[in-house]
Symmetry: C2
Subunit: 501 residues, 2 copies
């Protein structure tokens, strides 16, 4: 049965190539997609071909590309490889796009994910020309059933002058009812409280809306989401997860957390999956999650009954797990809700619900400033994503990392972070495989002692302690956050010069 | 007429010295007060004397001191000079306290002001032994009329084991009705939406509550708040204000702001007053403010009819203006509301209302990372205060500074900020007397070009541009945020070595 049951719209079905011609050089184009889920599968490739042809004919062709978050090789990769993106926001993780950004050929605006939709709506990024949004189905009344992500699709459909839809029959038709699209947003001064009291509460519609007059093309596809291979937890991530979950037990004993914890948020990656794995084998019951992304580990935790429900904005599953989910989707109804990223990452919701936030980091300095985004100060890896939205507004926040990188050549605890995404005012608990540093209520020097003793790798511990001691000695009137500024970034300089910090 | 009309409590009136003996070495003591308003005037001095006596007798005596924000010489100053504070949070601006912190003798925990009350309630700082809270009156039913600030007093009264009240008849008795103390706060998972839709909306009670059984002493005083002299706007602050207000006009023309703007927040200081002065002479009408502190300039703006109303948590007035306000307080009723700092600085309220946030900075780096707190990386000045609460959640945020300090020896635009309180993801618009840099929607390198061209002083502009150009050249695969890490902090090193950047 066709996924397009709206007769007025059936006539707009075209090929991806025909759809792509609606996009012109210089356009601002917003596409659906969040961590490799729910991004358009066909039009980006056709657009990349169009760009190559234009370039071969000696004409400029580049767009500004907005999305929910990271997408996949067929979108970010294809357009970056075609040199077709002049500016990118708000998050990416694609190797080709990363290269274009770090080469300086693509501008990248790395905003908080909770800010992207509203700032686009406020007009801070300019007029939006075209939206390209993937959905699972179009209903007879023109309403859209989203697929495996919601992301910024609601805002892109609202703001764009022209809309291209991709209807992807790989997404189960049974996705209908898995989404909660909040249409109560307003621009100040018209904003109202968001009446969300629990992670699974519905406050919006199960469908995306679009003005049919704006739809210029519809493309039918049947193509899977990017499906990253699932890495089983290694020894370090298992150790990190164990420190973290033990600390949650400690907080319950101290009466600072209820026995069923508070809603969990967990960034993407191996450690996040390891934490879920640890919880799956734990005594915890009745857990909930209010998060961005549902990875394999969280789905396992639902399956084994520990996790009662999850609110997120997207899936990010392995190929096996995605196939399994698509087959058994009905059994997850009422236990999974996908929201707009504006709501999944909203400061108001995160603070009210008291989320426990767990996010990865690249490095932390001894005072607890965290770098989530850059290598050696200059090169971007992915972006800040929602880590700032969650860390700032969480009840508890954790930043996690191995204590070493590059076979020990890099310490993830350094004297001074080479880029700062989360400041000392925002970070609460750091965890490495070495241990856990609880920074709450500590002064900078006390934080430094704790981080060095508990989180740094023994190979770097003495040198970090020595830096701190000498910085204290050298700053008799600057002992709040003592630094040796001439040496503060020298560990990174050492790595650049010698290959080792 | 006595300000203590509750007969059950009248018997608890004692001297400050008698009250202070309820505070012991090692206690956590939370006092009222916010930017020099509404802090206890008598007990801190008596406590400082008690500490000196203990020290003279060879005994340890130090407390952990919590407040709303900065206080005054009679509180922070007296206790710091008596070496009586082991730990201080969440904000201070006192010379003696600053010295104790920078000497390493007092630990300082510089938290976001919106986090301090909730984190204390969550138990992150330990048990609160004693609260010392100044009020304007005690009603027959035991309810408390606050004075010139609310700050964290609600939370301190709720959490403390023992309570000492100071009743200060310097505050007009007519303060009754000027306050809105929100008692709807809960700990997660019991939290509810804050039903605040407009800056002046009342969502709480006009009174503070306290369990009378916890009151161990009441002290009567008649003493003025700290009254900082008002500095008339100088040429630079006038120029900054002019750039900023012109930009607001620009945003109205672009349909990104309504003609009456959105609620204003303005940090403490000369530039803030200058902005208010500029608005006072402008075409704007019907302005509102949702801010922390009401300075002279904001009161002037009310008087001349431009500013319809102000929600804040405290006053911070000159002696003349405070005397004038106290005399004419009735005329401000319904136009000024003082809230808890948890509400004045609440992310939920700030984002919903769409606040226009204006805060000072020490320095910004070329990529827009802002240092609000430290000199040369190591020494704290005051603290982050509410600048992060407002900047992160604002509709528009401005960070303002002169482009030079120390007679030109220091540039407020540097290659790499020596401490980062607000990251590139959070800062939108920088303003110096040189001009304004609108960073919204720009990549880091584009931000750098704009900041250098518009905000840096001409004396440093070429060197900043040269740093950027060389950093781009040196990082062929790191051109997102290109840095020369060996040189990034060298401007601060130059200043430390030669007295000039």
């Amino acid at each position: 049965m066709s996924r397009i049951t709206c007769s007025d719209l059936s006539s707009k079905v075209v090929t991806a190539e025909q759809a792509a011609v609606h996009i012109s050089h210089g356009d601002r184009v917003a596409m659906s997609g969040f961590t490799g889920s729910g991004y358009p599968k066909a039009v980006p490739g056709a657009l990349a071909s169009q760009a190559r042809t234009e370039h071969e004919d000696g004409r400029d062709f580049a767009i500004e590309l907005w999305t929910g978050a990271s997408t996949a090789p067929e979108l970010d990769g294809a357009l970056a490889e075609a040199d077709a993106v002049s500016k990118r926001l708000p998050f990416q993780s694609d190797p080709a796009m990363r290269k274009a950004i770090n080469d300086g050929s693509t501008e990248y605006v790395d905003t908080h994910l909770s800010h992207s939709a509203q700032q686009a709506w406020f007009g801070f990024y300019g007029n939006l020309d075209v939206a390209v949004v993937e959905v699972a189905a179009i209903l007879p009344n023109g309403l859209l059933v989203p697929g495996s992500s919601v992301g910024n699709s609601k805002t892109w459909l609202d703001l764009a002058d022209k809309v291209i839809l991709e209807v992807n029959s790989w997404h189960p038709r049974a996705y209908e009812g898995f989404h909660d699209v909040y249409y109560g947003t307003r621009r100040p001064p018209e904003r109202l409280p968001i009446q969300l009291l629990e992670p699974m509460q519905r406050i919006g519609d199960p469908y995306l809306r679009v003005d049919p007059a704006k739809i210029v093309a519809i493309v039918e596809t049947n193509a899977p989401d990017r499906n990253l291979p699932f890495k089983p937890a290694d020894e370090d991530s298992t150790a990190i997860a164990s420190h973290l979950v033990d600390f949650l037990r400690h907080e319950i004993r101290a009466d600072r957390l209820p026995p069923e914890l508070l809603p969990l948020q967990s960034g993407v990656g191996n450690v996040a999956n390891a934490v879920m794995g640890n919880l799956a084998e734990s005594e915890f019951e009745g857990l909930t999650a209010y998060t961005e992304v549902i990875q394999d580990g969280m789905l396992d935790l639902i399956d084994n009954g520990k996790l009662a429900s999850v609110s997120a904005t997207a899936f990010s599953l392995s190929a096996e797990r995605a196939a399994d989910f698509n087959e058994n989707i009905e059994s997850y109804k009422g236990r999974i809700l996908l929201r707009t990223q504006e709501m999944s990452n909203h400061p108001e919701a995160i603070r009210r619900l008291g989320v426990i936030a767990i996010n990865g980091m690249v490095e932390a300095d001894i005072y607890g400033n965290v770098n989530s985004t850059h290598v050696m100060g200059s090169s971007i890896i992915n972006g800040i994503g929602g880590s700032g939205d969650f860390a700032r507004n969480a009840y508890l926040n954790f930043f996690v990392s191995n204590s070493l990188a590059k076979d020990g050549a890099i310490s993830s605890v350094v004297p001074f972070a080479s880029h700062i995404d989360h400041t000392e005012h925002d970070t609460q608990i750091l965890v490495t495989e070495q241990g856990l540093a609880d920074l709450r209520g500590l002064s900078p020097v006390a934080r430094a002692r704790t981080i060095i003793a508990n989180c740094a790798h023994p190979d770097y511990r003495d040198r970090l302690g020595d830096y701190l001691d000498r910085a204290i000695a050298a700053n008799p009137h600057g002992r709040h956050t003592p630094h040796l500024l001439g040496e503060a970034l020298s560990w990174h300089g050492n790595f650049q010069a010698t290959g080792r910090m």
